[in-house]
């Protein structure tokens, strides 16, 4: 990727471009009654230090920033576990309809029946897709969905007088959010090892479940991109010990229309709408992580959920709800986009999404396994995990390969995850990429593999053509250099 514009990029912040008295917008004359200012103690003592800039300066500033952005709209983005699929633009049009974008969460239910119907139908759709019919769309991201699901599990056991179930089991390949959410929910985390094939070690699991088991949290397919062949045995083992089984739905893009989580014995799940159901992500949000449960657990769902009475819809609270998980009703704009995606694709289309995601990942796996090594060399699901240990032995790390990919205009795969794979590069092409794009990715990876022998420093110093080259990421995060400093007046408010 070359710098987006010829010449040097103007890196000054908007505040640093400010010139006293310069204006970008003329306000209309006041046409409503003037209101008195609030209590003096709520007012600033000095004027706000807002940037005083012309309109073209503002436009250029933000346009330049947007052009420097590396996104799914500009580049191939095979970031494993994140499902960076194309976001159909019609979804944006739907989300911006006035009836969707201009409503307020405090409006009376009878004035937003269309929006409530959309939420109800999306609850139904997600329940059908996953086989877990109790759905609350409130959680704002996957981790909040996990936390909500674990609170449901705890409430369920407390309600049954089985409050000693405080252990959350999870495989050593789990997403980092799983142990974090379990700890937040007050559970003790116990790790279940993987076997040599990358599957959950069933015998080890059998030895770890007992009367203290609350949940077993499992990602399906696993973070190695593999389907658990023993999944029915696994859910049985946990159920026989009296525990519940939680599905981390991050990898749901491999299962749509093929198998339902509920049919496999899962009791609770979350779905990342911003992954599987094509709503935009990667820019820090907003996301949506609905929590999905079996009929038995539905009374414990967070509030509110949308309920249908004959032909009308309203917000309602489940009988034994664990409570609110956010101030309002979830990321409604994200829900509209997911709804539009599901409706546009339909039931048959859902299955095709997953089938093509799986075919694309296996196309890359078979092409690159020989040169880059692979974590588990068998048919994968929607993503494959390369393990370039031979390259590492030559002094080139997964990080170097990732950074070099940027020079070729390709977003790096997920690196160094799952933790159990040395030098992991987790590649998830998604179903929305053409064979041409996959072929180019494969060709670039092979080219990079040649560069490792011919000019390894090309990789060590990569990326070369971006506005910023190799960063010291750990130091940048731990000792950030903040050019903009707040007013003393602001820091004094208290």
């Amino acid at each position: 990727m070359k710098a987006p514009f010829p010449g040097e990029i103007d890196r000054r912040l908007l505040n640093e471009r400010s010139v006293s008295g310069r204006i970008g917008l003329q306000l209309q004359e006041l046409d409503v009654p003037e209101q008195p200012l609030p209590d003096a103690r709520l007012l600033r003592s000095i004027e706000a230090r807002l940037p005083e800039v012309s309109q073209p300066e503002v436009v250029r500033y933000f346009t330049t920033l947007s052009a420097m952005n590396f996104s799914i709209d500009t580049n191939f983005y095979p970031l494993g576990s994140c499902t960076m699929k194309h976001n159909p633009k019609v979804n944006e049009e739907m989300a911006f309809l006035p009836g969707m974008a201009s409503i307020h969460p405090n409006q009376p239910d009878e004035t937003v029946q269309g929006a409530l119907q959309l939420i109800w139908e999306l609850q139904q759709d997600l329940g059908e897709i996953t086989g877990l019919p109790g759905v609350c769309l409130g959680p704002l991201a996957g981790a909040q969905g996990e936390y909500s699901g674990l609170m449901i599990a705890r409430a369920y056991f407390q309600d049954r007088g089985d409050a000693n179930r405080t252990v959350a089991l999870m495989p050593d390949s789990a997403h980092g959010t799983n142990p974090a959410s379990a700890a937040m929910a007050g559970l003790e985390v116990v790790t279940v090892p993987s076997d040599s094939e990358g599957n959950v070690d069933v015998e080890a699991l059998r030895g770890l479940v007992d009367e203290r088991t609350c949940v077993f949290m499992l990602t399906l397919p696993s973070t190695l991109g593999l389907f658990e062949p023993n999944i029915l045995e696994i859910t049985n083992i946990v159920h026989e010990a009296g525990g519940l089984v939680y599905a981390d739905g991050a990898n749901l893009n491999a299962l749509l229309g093929i198998v339902k989580l509920g049919d496999l014995g899962f009791d609770i799940a979350h779905s990342n709408l911003h992954k599987t159901f094509s709503t935009p992500h990667g820019g820090g949000g907003p996301g949506a992580g609905p929590v999905l449960v079996s009929e038995t657990l539905a009374p414990y769902l967070p509030t509110p959920v949308v309920v249908r009475d004959a032909d009308t819809y309203r917000f309602g609270a489940p009988d034994k709800t664990v409570g609110r998980v956010n101030g309002f009703h979830g990321s409604f704009g994200v829900l509209v986009r997911a709804y539009a995606y599901i409706r546009a694709i339909g039931a048959e289309g859902m299955r095709e999404v997953s089938e093509n995601a799986i075919i694309n990942a296996n196309y890359i796996r078979t092409a690159l396994a020989g040169e880059f090594g692979i974590a588990a060399d068998r048919v994968c699901m929607h993503e494959c995990v390369l393990s370039p240990q031979a390259q590492k032995a030559k002094g080139v790390s997964a990080l170097d390969i990732s950074k070099r990919l940027i020079d070729y205009g390709i977003h790096p795969p997920t690196m160094y995850f799952p933790l159990i794979v040395p030098e992991a590069l987790m590649v998830e092409p998604t179903e929305t990429e053409t064979k041409d794009t996959l072929d180019r990715f494969i060709a670039v990876m092979r080219q990079i593999n040649k560069e490792i022998d011919s000019d390894p420093d090309l990789l060590h110093d990569a990326p070369h053509d971006t506005p910023n080259t190799r960063l010291d990421e750990a130091n940048a995060a731990r000792h950030p250099y903040l050019r903009w400093q707040p007013d003393e007046d602001l820091t004094a408010v208290g």
Binding site: G176, Y416, F417, E473, R478
Partner: protein, 128 residues
């Protein structure tokens, strides 16, 4: 790399090399192999006190951030400031140039008795 037998080990994969009352502390080869490439080491100030087996810092690799636990209690008299800019030294040789802190221990002998020798530590990592 063989586990050096001139020092003692904790089950948190740190080593302690005793030289009178001054004890040099670092992480083991097993730890660096599990962590992968180290990108940042967060060490305490000289003069800070640490209790045996308590957290004294953080080590960040390309994979994860992990806590560092001191195999020895006492006052920190020196930190390896080279690691601020060259954290890769921990990977290059965790037993020499990759050392982390030096601690002045008041009761070195009794603390030493709570640590493993190289043979016991090798047996521990063989299980993991």
């Amino acid at each position: 790399m063989a586990t050096p037998d001139d020092r003692r080990y904790s089950d948190e994969h740190e080593w302690a090399l005793f030289d009178g009352s001054i004890v040099t502390v670092g992480v083991t080869q097993f730890a660096t192999d599990s962590l992968g490439d180290v990108v940042y080491v967060d060490l305490p100030e000289v003069g800070a006190k640490v209790a045996q087996f308590d957290k004294f810092g953080e080590i960040e690799s390309v994979k994860a951030v992990s806590d560092l636990f001191s195999p020895i209690g006492g006052t920190i008299v020196e930190v390896n400031s080279d690691l601020m800019t060259m954290s890769e030294k921990v990977n290059q040789d965790p037993y020499s140039v990759g050392w982390l802190i030096k601690v002045e221990a008041s009761d070195a002998a009794s603390q030493l008795s709570k640590l493993m020798d190289a043979t016991a530590y090798d047996a521990l990592i063989a299980e993991e």
